[in-house]
C-alpha cells in the first residue's frame, strides 16, 4: 500500500496534535502540523510537572518535540492559522494564513544576541504575563522550532516603519547570520489534505468576572496556570514560590476547586483535571518548602485516572495536604494582604473562614477563543459549551466525514486521554483515507 502521496493536516501543535502527527508520520502519511504560536508544545510545555508520577513535563515532552521537528514526513507550520476550507470530492483544500515572523527560519541559529540588544519589553504570554520578554523572542526555552520571532505590535522598528528616520533595528545590526528580515509579510497559501485532525486544545477560564474570588483585585490570589509557571524552574520566579504583593514566601496556601466549573452561571461542566492537578501543586509546594501547609477546598474529590487515588492518599499522608469539603463564598484580605476564605462547610453546612497567605484558583478548562470561528470555517458542530461535539460510539469523529478531533478541544481531559484520543484520531484518519481513496 503506497500511502506516501496521502496527506493529513493536523491543526494544533499541543501534545495531542504532536501525537497524531507522529503516528501518522510513522505510518507514512505526509503531515502538515499547523500551530498558531511560534513554537509547538502547547499547554503541556507550560506545565512544571505531570501527575501522578511527578515527572518533569518538558522532560518527557521535549523528545517528542524534537521527533516532530526531525521527522521526514512532518512539516511544522508555525505562526499559522486556518482561514478557509473547501471540501473536494476527495479531501480538502485548506487556505492558511502565516503571520510574518520577521526572522528567516533557515538562517536563525537561536544564539540570543538579538534578544540582549532589543530595548522593547513585552508581557510574556507563555509565562502567563508574570514576566516580561523582549519584542524579539524565543517563545519558550525548549521551544521547537528553536527560532526567534518578532512581535509586530511591540517592535520599535516595525511600529515606526513609515517614519523617515529608522528607529531601533538593533537586532538586525547585531545578528551575525543576517536572519532578521523586516520585509516579511503575512502570507496566504493553500494546502491539499486528504483528512484533517483538529487538536486546538483549550484555554484556562479567566476568573476576573467571579468577583467574590478577588482575582486581579488581590495580588495574592492567582490561577492554576500562573502557579504552574511559578513553580517551574524555568518560570518567572525560577521556581520560587513568591507572593505577588510582597515577594514573601508563603507558608500557608489554599487551593480552590471548581472556579468557573460545575457552576451554572459560568461553566456547568466539571473540568476533570483540577482535583488532581491541585493535589500536584500542593505536593510540589511542600517539596519546594517543607514548611508550606496546603489546603484544598473541594466539592467532590475526583480522582478516577490510573494511580490518581493513591496520589491523593500520598498527598494526605506524606505531604500533610488537608482536603476540606467546602464551597468558597467569598475571599477577602487582611491588612497584610493575607487572603481570608469564607466558605460553606459542605458536611456541616456551617459557614467558616480560614486565613492563608496565598490562594491558587483551579480554573475551568474552556474552549479556545476562536474555536467557534474555526468550527464555522470547518463546518463542524460544537456542543452546548463550544467543545467539539462527538458521540459515545465515535469519540474522535466530528459530524464532517474526514475531519476528526482529539485532545482538550473535545472537552476537558488530561494528558493520557489526549494522547489516547490523538492516536485514535490518527487511526480514524488513516482508516478514512484507506476507505475513500480506493
Amino acid at each position: 500500500m503506497n500511502q506516501n502521496a496521502k496527506k493529513v493536516m493536523v491543526i494544533g501543535g499541543g501534545i495531542a496534535g504532536i501525537q497524531s502527527s507522529l503516528d501518522l508520520g510513522d505510518m507514512g502519511y505526509k503531515v502538515a502540523l499547523i500551530e498558531q504560536e511560534p513554537c509547538i508544545g502547547g499547554r503541556m510545555a507550560q506545565l512544571d510537572k505531570t501527575l501522578p508520577t511527578n515527572d518533569c513535563s518538558i522532560c518527557i515532552l521535549a523528545p517528542k518535540l524534537s521527533d516532530c521537528f526531525r521527522h521526514p514526513n512532518i512539516k511544522i507550520h508555525s505562526l499559522t492559522q486556518v482561514q478557509k476550507i473547501s471540501k473536494k470530492e476527495q479531501g480538502f483544500t485548506v487556505t492558511l494564513l502565516r503571520k510574518a515572523r520577521f526572522v528567516n527560519e533557515d538562517l536563525c541559529i537561536n544564539c540570543g544576541l538579538c534578544v540582549e540588544k532589543c530595548p522593547s519589553k513585552v508581557l510574556d504570554t507563555f509565562e502567563m504575563k508574570m514576566n516580561k520578554r523582549k519584542a524579539i523572542y524565543l517563545y519558550y526555552l525548549q521551544g521547537v522550532p528553536a527560532i526567534m520571532a518578532i512581535d509586530k505590535e511591540k517592535c520599535l522598528y516595525l511600529k515606526n516603519k513609515n517614519k523617515e528616520k529608522r528607529v531601533c533595528g538593533f537586532c538586525e545590526d547585531v545578528c551575525q547570520h543576517n536572519a532578521i528580515d523586516f520585509t516579511q509579510t503575512d502570507t496566504n497559501y493553500t494546502l491539499e489534505s486528504d483528512a484533517i485532525i483538529l487538536a486546538v486544545g483549550s484555554n484556562q477560564y479567566d476568573p476576573t468576572p467571579l468577583y467574590a474570588y478577588g482575582y486581579k483585585k488581590y495580588k495574592n490570589v492567582i490561577t492554576g496556570l500562573e502557579y504552574e509557571r511559578m513553580i517551574s524552574a524555568s518560570g518567572p520566579t525560577e521556581g520560587h514560590i513568591t507572593r505577588l504583593s510582597d515577594k514573601k514566601h508563603p507558608k500557608t496556601i489554599a487551593f480552590v476547586q471548581c472556579v468557573g466549573s460545575r457552576d451554572v452561571n459560568t461553566n456547568p461542566y466539571c473540568s476533570s483535571i483540577c482535583c488532581t492537578y491541585s493535589t500536584k501543586h500542593a505536593i510540589l509546594s511542600r517539596e519546594h518548602d517543607e514548611e508550606i501547609q496546603s489546603s484544598i477546598f473541594y466539592i467532590d474529590l475526583r480522582a478516577g485516572g490510573k494511580g490518581f487515588q493513591k496520589y491523593i492518599e500520598r498527598a494526605k499522608n506524606e505531604y500533610g495536604v488537608k482536603y476540606i469539603r467546602g464551597k468558597i463564598a467569598e475571599i477577602k484580605i487582611d491588612e497584610n494582604e493575607n487572603p481570608i476564605l469564607f466558605y460553606e462547610d459542605l458536611d456541616t453546612f456551617d459557614v467558616k473562614s480560614k486565613k492563608v497567605e496565598f490562594v491558587i484558583l483551579a480554573c475551568a478548562m474552556i474552549p479556545t477563543k476562536n474555536s467557534d470561528k474555526l468550527a464555522k470555517v470547518l463546518g463542524i458542530e460544537l456542543d452546548e459549551f463550544n467543545f467539539v461535539k462527538s458521540s459515545i460510539d465515535s469519540p474522535v469523529n466530528t459530524n464532517v466525514p474526514g475531519i476528526f478531533a482529539c485532545g482538550a478541544c473535545l472537552g476537558p481531559q488530561d494528558i493520557p486521554h489526549s494522547v489516547i484520543n490523538a492516536s485514535g484520531a490518527a487511526a480514524k484518519a488513516s482508516e478514512y483515507i484507506s476507505r475513500t481513496k480506493r
Binding site: T53, N54, E287
Partner: protein, 268 residues
C-alpha cells in the same frame, strides 16, 4: 592498587563513607531507581550504579573483580522472581549469587554482597534497600581490601583464588547445569534433588577453592605438601590429593627434593 592514598574532601571529617557498587537490571530495578528519583525518595549518596540489561548478566567475575579492587559493598538488584523481563534471568542471578556467597564465606566477605529484587513501581523500596545496605556496610567498616585498610597478602591471595574458581570453566559448567539438572534431569533422565546437588556443588567448590589457593601460594614460592598444609590449615592428605590433581592438570610440577620432601612449583 595499594597506592591509592588521598581521600575525597568530603571525608575530611573522618567518617567512613563506603564505596558501594550497584548492578541494576534495566527493566525493573533501574526503573525503580528512576522512580525513587521521580518521587524524590532520598537515600545515601554512596551507591554507584552500573546498568545491565538483566541481573542474570552479573557475572560473578565482575563481583570478585570489584571486591578485589576494594569496593566496600556490592548490591545486585533484579526484577522480582517471576517478573524477569527475560523470563528467568533473575533465577540465574540467584544461583550465581548463592555460589559466590558460599565461597566468600571462607574469607568472611560474604556480608558485603547482597542480592535483592526491586520492581519498576518500587521507588520507595529501592531507596530503603539502598539506605539499609549502606548503613550495614558503614557499620562493617571499610573493606579489608580497600585502600584504607592495607590489605593482608593472605586475604588478597585467597580472593584471587576465589576469582579463579568462579572464572574456571569447570565451576561454570557445574553451576550452569545446576538449575537445569535439578529442574529437568541429566542426560540419563535422573533428576537430582536440589539439596543433594547443592551439597555436591559445595564440596566441589571447596575443592576448587583449595586447589586455587595452593596454586597461588606456589606461584609465590615453591613449597612442599607439609609446608602448604601449614599455610592453608588443612591436613596433609587432602593437600596431597589436590597437589596430584593440579599436577594432572599440568599446572604444577616437581621442582626439587628437599631432604625427603618433594617441593612443587608452578609451571610457567
Amino acid at each position: 592498587m595499594n597506592e591509592l592514598i588521598t581521600e575525597p574532601k568530603s571525608e575530611s571529617d573522618n567518617e567512613f563513607e563506603p564505596k558501594i557498587l550497584g548492578f541494576l537490571c534495566n527493566w525493573c530495578s533501574y526503573a525503580g531507581a528512576d522512580l525513587a528519583g521521580v518521587s524524590r525518595n532520598q537515600y545515601p549518596p554512596n551507591i554507584r550504579v552500573i546498568r545491565l540489561m538483566c541481573s542474570g548478566r552479573v557475572d560473578p567475575v565482575f563481583v570478585m573483580d570489584a571486591l578485589i579492587k576494594g569496593v566496600d559493598g556490592i548490591l545486585i538488584l533484579g526484577c522480582h522472581l517471576g517478573d524477569c523481563h527475560y523470563g528467568e534471568g533473575n533465577y540465574e542471578a540467584q544461583v550465581n549469587y548463592e555460589m559466590l556467597n558460599n565461597l566468600l564465606k571462607y574469607v568472611k566477605m560474604d556480608n558485603r554482597v547482597d542480592l535483592g529484587w526491586v520492581s519498576a513501581a518500587e521507588g520507595t523500596y529501592f531507596a530503603k534497600i539502598v539506605t539499609d545496605f549502606t548503613n550495614k556496610i558503614r557499620s562493617l567498616g571499610p573493606s579489608p581490601l580497600s585502600s584504607k585498610s592495607n590489605p593482608s597478602k593472605e586475604l588478597l591471595l585467597n580472593m584471587k583464588a576465589i576469582k579463579q574458581v568462579v572464572y574456571d570453566p569447570r565451576t561454570r559448567k557445574l553451576v550452569g547445569r545446576e538449575r537445569f539438572i535439578t529442574l529437568h534431569g541429566n542426560v540419563y533422565d535422573e533428576k537430582i534433588d536440589e539439596d543433594e546437588f547443592a551439597l555436591l556443588l559445595r564440596d566441589s567448590l571447596e575443592a576448587e577453592y583449595i586447589r586455587n589457593q595452593i596454586y597461588f601460594y606456589l606461584k609465590e614460592s615453591p613449597s612442599s605438601v607439609k609446608d602448604m598444609s601449614e599455610k592453608i590449615g588443612i591436613d596433609t592428605k587432602t593437600i596431597f590429593e589436590h597437589f596430584l590433581v593440579l599436577r594432572q592438570r599440568t599446572l604444577i610440577d616437581l621442582s626439587e627434593i628437599k631432604g625427603y620432601s618433594p617441593v612443587y612449583k608452578v609451571i610457567k
